[in-house]
């Protein structure tokens, strides 16, 4: 089944295109997420709709080149409008994003219905730009997408140091004399480019997820920008290719939503499993920290008992110790302490319950509880 799919020329084109798109969006989205401009991608993607219609209107046909040019034009216009609104009015960024997103999209809807009214069959495919339709992709489109991807990659490599600085500490970059506004504009323009590339496959509505999800997933696994950008591009490429394959096998399933769900699944896995940061790791670390504290308290309580009785090898009863700490006895805490050679089990006839005494190391550890807790 899979081999049959791969051998089909159309499916190969679609999968290659989707992987290409995922890589571009993943790479550029990493910078957008780090700069806390994730939702700008959403606004720019919605703003591409009127551009798609304008490109169609001017070219008079479903020509990918002019549609991409149109989408890029209105996307850039939307970015400018965002800047104008936030710089000249008291409106906050979120309101500016909402205004740009909804008004540009509304104009796009008006143009779309206008085209459907006058254009008839030729414009029927335009609605597929809402959610993407991978099947409509042509082998020649891959060259356009590849060209855009290479240009973006070259720009990122050429301006790597500058982009890094602007992403993490724009104020410092400005103090160093870097043209921060121009660099930020370049990054925004590149996000618009990624969106334009994704229009045909994912569509304007869900494009934002392809920018954010791979980057958010990659961020969990590393603290290094280079690794994050590469990983983000890889996750994007895999999500794209996987989504294209799934949607090619099911009739009537648009590519965009499937790609988005796969990328989201990558985020969920990363949030859970990423070493150090992931939720499971956090939970484990929290449990270990709790056990360390309980063990330190047990040691100290035993030492106090020993001192009170003037007997360094005083046998403490396990249940009583736990009760004095105000929690149910957990044998695992005692087992852990015994394993580390800090306490030793001792018989205390005629009682049959477990009794413990501190070893010499145990006395040392109890006297330095902070050192013990910091282990």
């Amino acid at each position: 089944m899979l081999a049959e799919l791969i051998s089909s020329q159309l499916v190969r084109t679609v999968v290659l295109g989707a992987a290409l798109l995922g890589a571009i969006a993943g790479m550029l989205g990493a910078f957008a997420v780090l700069r806390r401009q994730s939702l700008l991608g959403d606004a720019l993607a919605h703003a591409a709709l009127p551009g798609v219609c304008l490109g169609f209107l001017i070219a008079g046909a479903r020509d990918l080149g002019s549609i991409m040019a149109g989408a890029f034009f209105t996307g850039a216009l939307a970015a400018l409008a965002m800047m104008a609104i936030t710089r000249t009015t008291r409106l906050k960024t979120d309101a500016a994003l909402g205004i740009v997103l909804s008004v540009f999209f509304a104009v796009g809807v008006v143009l779309l219905t206008y085209l459907q009214g006058v254009g008839g069959a030729a414009s029927a495919g335009l609605a597929s730009f809402l959610f993407g339709q991978a099947a409509a992709i042509l082998a020649s489109d891959l060259w356009i997408m590849g060209g855009v991807g290479l240009a973006a990659l070259a720009l990122v490599l050429a301006l790597w140091k500058e982009f890094k600085l602007v992403s993490f500490d724009a104020d410092f970059a400005r103090a160093q004399g870097l043209p921060v506004t121009a660099l930020e504009a370049t990054l925004t323009v590149m996000v618009a480019l990624a969106i334009v590339v994704g229009l045909q496959l994912v569509g304007v509505v869900l494009m934002v997820a392809l920018l954010i999800a791979p980057a958010a997933a990659a961020r969990q696994w590393t603290d290094r920008l280079g690794v994050m950008v590469a990983l983000s591009a890889a996750i994007g490429a895999l999500s794209g290719a996987g989504g294209a394959l799934v949607s090619a096998t099911t009739r009537g399933l648009a590519t965009g939503p499937v790609v988005v769900l796969i990328a989201t699944a990558a985020v969920l896995v990363s949030l859970m499993l990423a070493p150090g940061r992931g939720l499971i790791w956090q939970a484990l670390a929290a449990r270990r920290a709790r056990a360390r504290i309980t063990e330190a308290r047990i040691l100290r309580a035993m030492q106090e008992l020993a001192q009170a009785h003037g007997d360094a090898r005083y046998p403490s009863e396990q249940g009583m110790l736990a009760a004095s700490l105000g929690q149910p006895p957990d044998p695992r805490n005692f087992a852990a302490l015994e394993r580390r050679g800090l306490i030793r089990a001792v018989p205390h006839p005629p009682e049959t319950t477990r009794h413990w005494e501190l070893t010499t190391q145990g006395h040392d550890a109890a006297a330095a509880p902070d050192a013990e807790r910091g282990r």
Partner: protein, 376 residues
């Protein structure tokens, strides 16, 4: 007369739009002030998921169950986004951008797989079908009223009641959440109440305007009103008025050009916004530019007076108090220098005496004010 009104298709379409607009503007005013505008974006996308899930479970496309169930998806988006941001693993903006596309994508896939035959079509999700609201009617007191109008009317009543009853609390929580919390007004509860109502309104408006155009009705008129006034009550009233105007004008233009009615109504809210951005009294771009120009001209006048005063009755007067000196020494372009002299002349600050620019008494007084009566 009433029956005739409810039988009129154009009246019903405009009324539907107006109800969406007013409901959205009432809530949107506070969302814009609180900086939560993009949560509207998240909510309106993810109710698509709620609508299809409720339909799969109950096979209902309208009614209170559907309204509440679908609205729950909107609230879920907000809760999930905020939980994700609280985990500190991703920032708030990325959290919003992760949650709602996922729910929206799931909704679109469910529609494609299981609901292709019902009237939830993927295009409807985005565009709405305000032109067909009159097709589904219920009979109320012997009059056929579109279902959407009844639902939206009820939602509007709830929103209006919410805003009027909790006006003081909303106002305080929007402008000073810290004080609101300190006074025991539970801003968190208010926050979720506001977003729940936004979700309910989004679901009610879904049939008419779709998921995305709804954002325009919630955010744009309040943001426009925000540019026009600093008073909260006036902002809300203006936002409502702008919505109504956008619906009426949008309907007329949409009929004229034969384009999407909901799209045109939403576009008109954008037109109002651009007009306000440009022409708002005092804060509009045009009036900002005019003020900047007036300031520049005043400054030139003062610089000219100061220059003349410095050299008045000095040996260099013959050289300095001329048009040439302004051009050569102050580096002004000639038109700017000529304009400054003309303006200073009109203001009775300077006069031309024996070919030299000389300060008149008013000009001397102004120069002394500039230099702090030096030498006096």
């Amino acid at each position: 007369m009433i029956a005739a009104f409810f039988d009129s298709i154009p009246a019903m379409i405009v009324l539907t739009g107006v109800l969406v607009g007013i409901s959205g503007a009432l809530l949107g005013s506070f969302l814009v002030l609180r900086g939560n505008a993009m949560l509207t974006d998240a909510i309106s996308h993810s109710i698509v998921f709620g609508i299809i899930v409720v339909w799969l479970l109950t096979r209902q496309l309208a009614g209170p169950v559907q309204l509440i169930g679908a609205a729950a998806a909107g609230v879920l988006t907000v809760v999930l986004s905020e939980a994700l941001a609280r985990s500190k693993l991703v920032k708030m903006d990325a959290a919003i951008g992760l949650v709602f596309p996922a729910l929206f994508a799931a909704g679109v896939i469910l529609i494609a797989l299981y609901a292709r035959d019902v009237h939830i079509h993927v295009d409807t999700v985005l565009l709405g079908e305000i032109g067909f609201v009159w097709l589904h009617t219920v009979t109320l007191w012997g009059v056929d009223v579109p279902v959407s109008v009844v639902t939206l009317g009820a939602v509007l009543a709830i929103n209006l009641g919410f805003v009027l009853v909790l006006w003081k609390e909303l106002k305080l929580a929007s402008f000073d959440p810290g004080l609101a919390a300190a006074l025991g007004f539970l801003p968190g509860v208010l926050h979720y109440a506001l977003l729940t109502l936004t979700s309910v309104t989004a679901v009610a408006a879904f049939d008419a305007v779709g998921a995305i155009l709804f954002i325009a009705f919630v955010i744009v008129p309040p943001a426009t009103a925000y540019l026009l006034t600093r008073r909260l009550w006036l902002m809300v009233v203006l936002a409502v008025a702008l919505s109504v105007a956008a619906c009426v004008a949008g309907y007329a233009l949409a009929r004229h050009w034969n384009v999407s009615i909901a799209g045109m109504m939403a576009s008109m809210t954008g037109v109002w916004f651009v007009l306000a951005l440009l022409f708002a009294p005092r804060r509009g771009l045009v009036s900002q530019a005019l003020r900047a120009r007036a300031r520049r001209r005043d400054h030139d006048c003062r610089a000219l007076v100061a220059h003349l005063f410095t050299h008045q009755n000095s040996p260099q007067m013959a050289e300095e108090n001329t048009l040439r000196a302004l051009i050569d020494h102050l580096g002004w372009p000639e038109p700017r220098a000529r304009a400054a002299i003309l303006r200073a002349h009109d203001r009775a600050l300077v006069e031309r005496r024996a070919g030299l620019l000389t300060l008149r008494p008013k000009g001397v007084a102004e120069a002394e004010a500039i230099f702090g009566r030096r030498g006096a």
